[in-house]
């Protein structure tokens, strides 16, 4: 975890130096005067030697300081905190949708293998994993927003204006994200369920006369959940990056809009901050997955 975090911090640092040419003049833009360039150089500490910059960077990160945005004229951490609510809510909402749809669909498909329902689910799942989430979002806007008028076409209503309004504004983006992900979860849940159903202990359970329900839901499901939990954790991580893209479809002022507008303005401190922040969430989600094995799978012990 710690070496990975160091590499992550270094990659974020390198971003600003990857650009061909002098970073300060790129940030300042083509019409900037030499003075402006100097100012930016000093502000970002780019006038110091690289190793010194790197050590400063680690030091600042350790203190939770992500620097100042060049265009928003406020600390990057503040800019991120201002924008994190819609992204997090959207991700959580989408994860819920994907699990609630994906796991039962996968388990039912495995239990009634090769039935009409199984084939229908799996065909749908195959189409589902082939649609990019932003495309599904656009189609939702077109059908439910523009043609049917059931949901707001775009925009986000913050929590302080009431939970119902927020939920309404997030239904379509969360469905666009969640449905695509539920297809993946359903496929994994089905295949891990099929694997488990072939295990000797399942045969033994059936042989001693256990009902099919007990075999499937008590013995098989628990074991099949282990790979499924992994994929749920990974889903959360995938969905937070999916949210970054889908926010643009629905004009939701979250982290995704923040980083995209920062890219267009070459506001490197903000880009670095958002990248680090999302990577941190991603790593924590993966850590949570590893730790959850301790609870679900008694065979796993960490020393």
């Amino acid at each position: 975890m710690i070496p990975v975090a160091l590499v992550v911090a270094t990659v974020a640092f390198v971003l600003i130096h990857l650009a061909p040419g002098d970073p300060a003049s790129i940030i300042a833009g083509p019409d900037a005067s030499a003075d402006d360039v100097k100012k930016i150089e000093r502000q970002l500490g780019l006038d110091q030697p690289l190793p010194v910059q790197l050590v400063h960077w680690y030091g600042r990160l350790a203190q939770g300081d992500l620097g100042h945005s060049i265009f928003l004229r406020k600390p990057v951490t503040e800019a991120i905190v201002d924008r994190v609510e819609p992204t997090l809510l959207l991700t959580v909402f989408a994860t819920l949708i994907s699990v609630v749809i994906g796991v039962p669909a996968g388990v039912l498909s495995a239990r009634h293998r090769n039935s009409v329902a199984d084939q229908a689910f799996m065909a749908l799942a195959l189409v589902g994993i082939s649609i990019p989430n932003f495309l599904l979002g656009l189609l939702f806007v077109l059908v439910f927003g523009v043609w049917l008028g059931w949901f707001p076409v775009a925009g986000y209503s913050p929590l302080e204006d009431g939970l119902v309004k927020t939920a309404r504004s997030l239904v379509m983006p969360a469905l666009a994200l969640g449905l695509v992900q539920s297809a993946l979860i359903a496929r994994i849940a089905r295949s891990s369920m099929l694997d488990v159903l072939q295990e000797p202990f399942i045969v033994a359970g059936r042989a001693k006369g256990l009902g099919e329900r007990v075999v499937v839901y008590k013995h098989a499901l628990r074991n099949a959940l282990i790979p499924t939990i992994t994929i749920i954790g990974i889903s959360f991580a995938i969905l937070i990056s999916g949210a970054v893209v889908v926010e643009t479809v629905f004009n939701i002022p979250g982290l995704g809009r923040l980083i995209v507008s920062a890219v267009l303005r070459r506001d490197y401190p903000v880009i670095q901050g958002v990248v680090l922040c999302v990577a941190a969430v991603y790593m924590l989600a993966n850590l949570a997955v590893d730790l959850s094995y301790l609870v679900i799978d008694p065979r796993v012990k960490y020393r």
């Binding site: 070496p3 990975v4 975090a5 160091l6 590499v7 992550v8 270094t10 990659v11 974020a12 971003l15 600003i16 130096h17 990857l18 650009a19 061909p20 293998r113 090769n114 195959l126 189409v127 994993i129 082939s130 649609i131 990019p132 932003f134 495309l135 656009l138 189609l139 806007v141 077109l142 523009v146 076409v153 099929l194 072939q198 991580a237 995938i238 937070i240 990056s241 999916g242 970054v244 893209v245 643009t248 479809v249 980083i259 995209v260 920062a262 890219v263 267009l264 070459r266 490197y268 880009i271 670095q272 958002v274 990248v275 999302v278 990577a279 991603y282 790593m283």
Partner: protein
């Protein structure tokens, strides 16, 4: 050629030869049996043909005709026109070409990076930790976010999109390769080759590399699909290929602004993306079933059950 080198060559030959001969019919058999894989292959083939023939079967995707802006699909413009009067059909067809170029180039680039890194990390214990920690670090970023950040530094161009997505997917290839190299390194034939005096380089390139390719090839179809998706997403966000380049993501990005007046700007490139990814996924699934012996067993078992 030294006698020793000739000896390793003799040991090497029958293995490679017989493997080839056994594999060829299995390919055809699987394709014939699994219609769905065949369907995927046909979809991919159609897109490849459309992409390759783009200049022949479609007009210039950059010609503007402002008088005919946002025209409905019809005789003159099969897929309608966009907000500056460019023909959407030409743009979608040329977009196929761009997607294929980006996908293929990203596969090559991520294979070059991932296989090199993975083989070195798997073969030399001293390199394992440094290489894999860097790969882990790169993989700790969500793919699209890292790609966006890299694009911010590299600037918008087709080549940079390829580089950014290639960097994002190399570690994923490296992980798969390293896993199989760790196993292959301990096999008897590698030991034999080494005992016969083969150098590290020739063991890696001639004995280990060919045997770790099949899981990587399976990855290839998925990396291709991911690259097409990521390019579309980047261009949709406005941080991918420059706006004048015909790309499915760029068309969708314009389409978002004219959703009410011109839904065809979303529907046609959207369908193109979906069919491409669907084809690649179907084909990739089939390839995995073919190349992964564990799943192959499952498959025959499933057929017996049905």
């Amino acid at each position: 050629m030294t006698p020793l080198a000739r000896a390793t060559r003799v040991i090497d030959l029958p293995r490679a030869g017989s493997g080839e001969r056994r594999r060829a019919p299995a390919w055809l058999a699987v394709l014939a049996r699994r219609k769905i894989t065949l369907a995927g292959l046909v979809l991919v083939a159609v897109i490849v043909v459309v992409g390759a023939l783009a200049p022949v079967i479609a007009g210039d995707p950059t010609t503007m005709d402002v008088a005919a802006r946002l025209t409905r699909p019809g005789q003159a413009h099969w897929f309608g026109t966009d907000d500056v009067g460019r023909d959407v059909y030409s743009r979608v067809v040329h977009g196929a070409r761009l997607s294929l170029i980006v996908g293929a180039a990203v596969v090559l680039l991520s294979f070059a990076g991932g296989i090199t890194g993975g083989v070195l990390a798997g073969y030399y214990p001293a390199l394992d930790n440094p290489i894999m920690r860097v790969m882990d670090g790169l993989m700790a970023f969500p793919a699209i976010v890292l790609a966006i950040a890299l694009m911010a530094s590299l600037g918008p161009s087709v080549v940079n999109v390829i580089v950014a997505i290639g960097v994002v997917y190399s570690p994923r290839v490296a992980r798969v390769v390293r896993g199989s190299v760790l196993v292959l390194k301990e096999t008897v034939y590698v030991e034999a080759a080494r005992a016969l005096g083969a150098s590290d380089g020739s063991v890696m390139v001639r004995h280990i590399l060919p045997n770790c390719l099949s899981p990587v090839i399976v990855q290839g179809s998925f990396v291709f699909a991911a690259a097409v998706l990521t390019e579309a997403a980047l261009s949709f966000l406005g941080v991918g290929v420059p706006p004048y380049v015909p790309s499915w993501g760029n068309i969708l990005s314009e389409g978002r602004l004219y959703l009410q007046q011109a839904p065809w700007l979303v529907l046609y490139p959207g369908a193109a993306i979906m069919l491409t990814i669907l084809g690649l996924n179907l084909f990739g699934d089939g390839l995995r079933d073919l190349l992964d012996p564990k799943i192959r067993g499952l498959q025959t078992e499933r057929q017996r059950a049905s």
